[in-house]
Structure formats: structure tokens, C-alpha cells
């Protein structure tokens, strides 16, 4: 069957940025993932003492040490991370000379400025309404990170923020792909950010029994696809990438790292938090991305799995990959980088897309840390122990979110 008429505008990746528990830049983060390092620790801060789960992966570099104090002061921590990652990506792309009206920003967050909300609620209750910061609303609004990046870069072609929990960062890239294909803009700075390592969010995720409680060995807590997995490790940070039309990149003499070849989006309509055990919705997203890219399942040699290290989610994703890829699932090389980074929620999809771009660029797939005893129900070629050197002509990065959101991105060599 021949694919439907292909969009004529190719979209490429020309810049990568991140600030994560593994490093203050994308390259530091990528090298740490290739080395199999973990960003997780047991929180020894006083505020965490009474929490049922005290494991998290906090940012390696405080954003306030990178940004000017005056710029940082009006921003929520999630917005600070977004601006730091966007500056890196923008510089990595060679600071494109683009008409501001042809430049858009799509930076998403899963949860938004909840720490500002809680802090200002404390101000309200202890010091009164007149002491509540006038920056509270711009700090807590879910579009705040995208707006902050747009302001910083002077983007006048639109600032957007699709929100889909832990699929938000991937959905941001999917929207960027659509914007460029539709001819609305030439360059999009896109990605995700999250900063919710704080008492209430941690207590709330713990109440869902979603977090690993492996306090005696926090760096072994995130173990996607392993038999002993017991939940995810909450992490914070941001990843932002620069995508642009291939024509625009060529005109300014940039060699892209990879193509954003396609996106697939679906929803489970199964349960607000639990994955559909059949993986049917996720499979439709993966198939959609492959079809959108004009590829066949056998073209896909690598998958960066969403795999958060929860008992139900990881096997549902394995089932989805088998459904979507068919016989090609036997040979696809899978990784799960949350084993190193922890789960950056709304930033995760963007960070893992960036890892997938780097895998294509560098010809290497990272190993899954802590995968000591693979789950029999997974039955995929999941990379263990050592990164695997291999050509990666085409890959898929998966992201799923509470609410039943499924987003798959197809990324290929240029």
C-alpha cells in the first residue's frame, strides 16, 4: 500500500538543549546516559522527611546560577529550566537568523508552576493577600514556560503549550512538526519542562503508588523492564530542541542532526491513569508515526521507550510495540533512558526525542541501567550493560501520559 500524499516540507532538528539531573547541558546529559549514570538520590532535605517516598532526581545545575538574577526572579523554576535549555538549543542551532514572525515556540509542561502556587498560598495564609506576588499568575500558568522562552527569543510567530501530562514534551514536538509542515512558520523552538520535586506532588504521586520506594538503593530504583521494578523516580529539568524546515536549514548552511519524520497521536479512553493493558492506544500512536513518516515497521531499528519502570506500564508498552511493529519487533533495539534520568514528566518526551536524535547522529543506543533480570513479558531486544554501536537510520520515541495520551515521534537520519 502506498502511503498517502506526503507533506512536501521536510522538518529537521538543528539544535539540542537540556538541563537535567545528569548535567546542565544536553551533551553532559547524553554522555552520562551513555555511561549509565543515575541522577537519583534519597532527598535529605527537611521537607521530605515525612514523605512515604523520598527518592527523586534533582537538577544537576541550579537554573538560578545560570540565568541573570533579574530574569530568574519573575520565573517559576519550571520556566527557568525551560529558558536555560532553550538558550542552549538556540546557540547549538547557530542562533538562526529568522524573521521573528516565522519563529514559533512550543514548550510544554505536565503540571506547571505548582511550587509557586504552594509557596504563594503559604504567603496568603501567613502574610495576607497584599503580600501575594504579582508574578504568581504568570509563574503558575501552564503556558508560562512557552511564553518565557518566546519572550527571551523574541518569537512572534506564535507561542503554544499542548498539555498531556507525561506526553507533553513529545506532543510539543508533534505540534512543531505540524506548524512547519503547514507552512505557518519556518523555525520552532520546542520541548518540555517540569519542576515538581516538592512535598505535595511527591505525596500525590506516592498516593497513586506510582513511585519506587527503593530507599536503600535509590540509583537502582528506576529499572524499566526489570522484574524487580516497583515504580518511577520523579525527576526535574527541561529539554528543548530547535526544529526548522529543511529548506530553511539548508539556506543558512546548517547540517541537521536528524529529521522529525512523523508523529502519531492517540488516546486510550480506558482509564485516567492506568495504561490499557493491551497497549492498543499506544500501538496506534506508534503505527501512526511510522505511517506519517512514510515508513514501514521494518524500517524502524530503534525505539526509545516511554518505560517509566512501573509494573503495568512497561509491559503494556512492550505489547504495544509488538502490535505496531509486528515481526519487526523481534529485531528492534529498545532503550529506556528513564533508568538514568528518572521521569521528567512533561519534559520526558522532549528529552527522549533529543536522545533519539543523538542516537541517530552518533550511531549509538544507550543501555538500560539496572536491567538485571528482564521481565519475561517484555520479550524485546532491550539494550543492557553496554551501549550498542549501530547505525540508526530510523527510530521511534514513545511518550504516554495520565489521561490516556499516547504520542510517538518518528525520527530519521537526514
Amino acid at each position: 500500500m502506498s502511503p498517502a500524499a506526503r507533506p512536501t516540507i521536510d522538518v529537521v532538528v538543528t539544535g539540542l538543549g537540556a538541563t537535567t539531573p545528569l548535567g546542565g547541558t544536553f551533551d553532559e546529559t547524553w554522555q552520562a546516559v551513555l555511561a549509565g549514570r543515575s541522577g537519583a538520590r534519597v532527598l535529605d532535605e527537611d521537607w521530605a522527611a515525612e514523605l512515604p517516598v523520598r527518592i527523586a532526581a534533582t537538577a544537576a545545575v541550579e537554573p538560578t546560577t545560570v540565568l541573570e538574577a533579574s530574569a530568574a526572579r519573575s520565573l517559576d523554576r519550571s520556566q527557568q529550566f525551560a529558558v536555560v535549555a532553550a538558550i542552549e538549543a538556540w546557540q547549538d542551532a547557530g542562533a538562526p537568523d529568522v524573521d521573528p514572525e516565522r519563529l514559533a515556540v512550543v514548550v510544554s509542561t505536565g503540571i506547571g508552576g505548582v511550587t509557586t502556587l504552594l509557596e504563594q498560598d503559604e504567603v496568603l495564609r501567613t502574610r495576607g493577600a497584599r503580600r501575594v506576588s504579582p508574578f504568581t499568575v504568570p509563574r503558575i500558568m501552564p503556558n508560562g514556560p512557552s511564553a518565557a522562552v518566546g519572550l527571551h527569543l523574541g518569537a512572534r510567530g506564535g507561542v503554544h503549550s499542548p498539555v498531556s501530562a507525561c506526553a507533553s514534551g513529545a506532543e510539543a514536538i508533534a505540534l512543531a512538526l505540524d506548524l512547519i509542515r503547514a507552512g505557518r512558520v519556518d523555525v520552532v523552538v520546542c520541548g518540555g519542562t517540569e519542576a515538581v520535586v516538592a512535598p505535595l506532588p511527591m505525596a500525590a504521586f506516592a498516593a497513586m503508588r506510582a513511585l519506587s520506594s527503593r530507599h536503600d538503593d535509590p540509583q537502582a530504583a528506576s529499572r524499566p523492564f526489570d522484574k524487580q521494578r516497583d515504580g518511577f523516580v520523579l525527576a526535574e529539568g527541561a529539554s528543548v530542541i530547535v526544529v526548522e524546515s529543511a529548506e530553511h536549514a539548508a539556506a543558512r548552511g546548517r547540517t541537521p542532526y536528524a529529521r522529525v519524520a512523523g508523529a502519531g497521536l492517540s488516546s486510550d479512553a480506558h482509564h485516567v491513569a492506568a495504561p490499557d493493558p493491551s497497549g492498543a492506544g499506544a500501538a496506534r500512536a506508534v503505527s501512526g508515526a511510522i505511517r506519517d513518516a512514510g515508513l514501514n515497521p521494518r524500517d524502524i531499528v530503534h525505539v526509545n521507550a516511554h518505560a517509566t519502570s512501573t509494573p503495568a506500564g512497561d509491559v503494556a508498552e512492550a505489547a504495544a510495540l509488538r502490535t505496531a511493529l509486528g515481526p519487526a519487533a523481534d529485531s528492534v533495539v529498545v532503550t529506556a533512558t528513564k533508568s538514568c534520568t528518572g521521569h521528567l514528566l512533561g519534559a520526558a518526551g522532549a528529552l527522549e526525542a533529543a536522545f533519539t536524535v543523538a542516537a541517530i547522529r552518533d550511531g549509538v543506543v544507550p543501555a538500560v541501567r539496572n536491567l538485571d533480570d528482564p521481565d519475561d513479558d517484555v520479550a524485546l531486544d532491550v539494550v543492557r550493560i553496554e551501549p550498542r554501536r549501530m547505525a540508526v537510520p530510523a527510530a521511534v520515541s514513545n511518550s504516554f501520559g495520565f489521561g490516556g495520551h499516547n504520542v510517538a515521534l518518528a525520527l530519521t537520519e537526514v
Binding site: E68, S70, R73, S74, R130, P134, F135
Partner: protein
């Protein structure tokens, strides 16, 4: 407290909130036009000044504080003990 003391204290607040060096905060400077301070930051500055100088600066008054000198005079008249 002299007007000079108020100016010094106000300049410290402006520096803390906006990052603008305190020595740039001189009486003739306009908050909006010279120092590029937006209306939300002005609310923060007024609130911090209320705490620091023990005065009340109602919202309606903030709009009239165009220059640093306006603010110093307002705070002085609002009852800082001499």
C-alpha cells in the same frame, strides 16, 4: 530617617527585585522609562517598601510614583519617623 536613607533603602529594593544596580537608582530616574521596570515589578517594589519603611502605599498611589524622587517623597510624607 532622611530622604537619603530612604533613597538608599529604595535602591536596595529595586536592585533585589529587578537586578538593576543600586547606584543607577537616582532621584530623577523614571521607573518605567529610564529603568524599564514594569507594572508588576512596581507592585513588588511598593510591597517591599511598605515592609521596609513601615508605611502604606495603596494601589492608587503606585500609579503616581513616576520617578524615584516621587517614591522617596511619598515614603517620607507617609510617616517615616524622623
Amino acid at each position: 530617617m532622611t530622604e537619603q536613607d530612604i533613597l538608599t533603602g529604595l535602591a536596595e529594593i529595586v536592585q533585589e527585585i529587578t537586578g538593576i544596580a543600586a547606584d543607577r537608582v537616582t532621584p530623577e530616574q523614571s521607573f518605567a522609562n529610564d529603568l524599564d521596570i514594569d507594572s508588576l515589578s512596581m507592585v513588588e517594589i511598593a510591597t517591599a517598601a511598605e515592609d521596609k519603611f513601615g508605611v502604606s502605599i495603596p494601589d492608587a498611589a503606585i500609579d503616581d510614583l513616576k520617578t524615584v524622587s516621587d517614591a522617596v517623597s511619598y515614603i517620607a510624607k507617609a510617616g517615616v519617623p524622623a
